[in-house]
Amino acid sequence: MTKKRETDPELEQLLRAYRDVQPTSDEKEKWRAAIAQEVRGSAPIVASAASPRSNLYRLVVRTAIQVGVAASLGFVIGAYFTERRSEQGQAMLFSQTEPNGMTSRPPATMDDERETVRVNLDGGDGR
């Protein structure tokens, strides 16, 4: 048993009104039973007196929410990087800058090559 603290008569007088409160024997018995059950292994938790079934529902809902959030986040991040890669690809194709500061012509495509050949066959200078 610990010692009582140094007394301040005025303070003790003020708080005296609280001190006559005592637990009933029923309350003590209830606390003892709960402790005995906890010591044995499991005990009811007063603060969250939820049934095992509602705990299971809560777990399922919580897991579903977490999976949903993770999937949405994955989708958004995936879409962002796909878009970014596509933009980078286009930039590489169309925005190559020459040393003189001019933007270069896009590389010739197969259609351009065919057109050039056709022009040559038609008369060399296209006339």
Binding site: K3, A17, P23, I35
Partner: protein, 182 residues
Amino acid sequence: MRTVDGIDWNEVVEDLGPALLRYFLAAGFARASASDGVQETLLRLVRLAKEGEYDPNRGSPRMLAFGIARLVKHEFYRKVGEHDLYGDAKEFADRADSVSAFAPGESAASSDALFAERQSAARLREVIGMLEYPVREIFFLLIDEELKLEEIAGILSIPVGTVKSHVHRGKEKIKLGLKEKV
């Protein structure tokens, strides 16, 4: 009752139960909720002991118990809202008058003296409820005669000197508050 690490839980119930009950009642809990608060605090103490984290040499069991009780109280406040307990002075006074200090089945008007004493307890609860943090919390803890000022400082993580000055100023405010009530 079986013991965990040699702790006699019957003794813990006898020693800490009444003090914790007064603490929860002072904090504005209704009698049944206060009793549940004590039970929850004691159960968490047992769990700490089972996990090997309850070391009487590291601090007094009393200090640890009140630290847990504060946590349980805050969890309750979060659930119901502290404002609901202290926000409306009249409502708090009514609640204090009608419930807390009396055991179920007790008659408040069994004698005039007893009735007057309980009325003053209700007024005191109301006045302490109006104090600001941490003064209010210090007075809740002071209700337990065996909790030292050093332990109260430890529970609230503030210097002992601060506790002393809060006690001094709090006393004056309580006296003033009680005078106004009368």
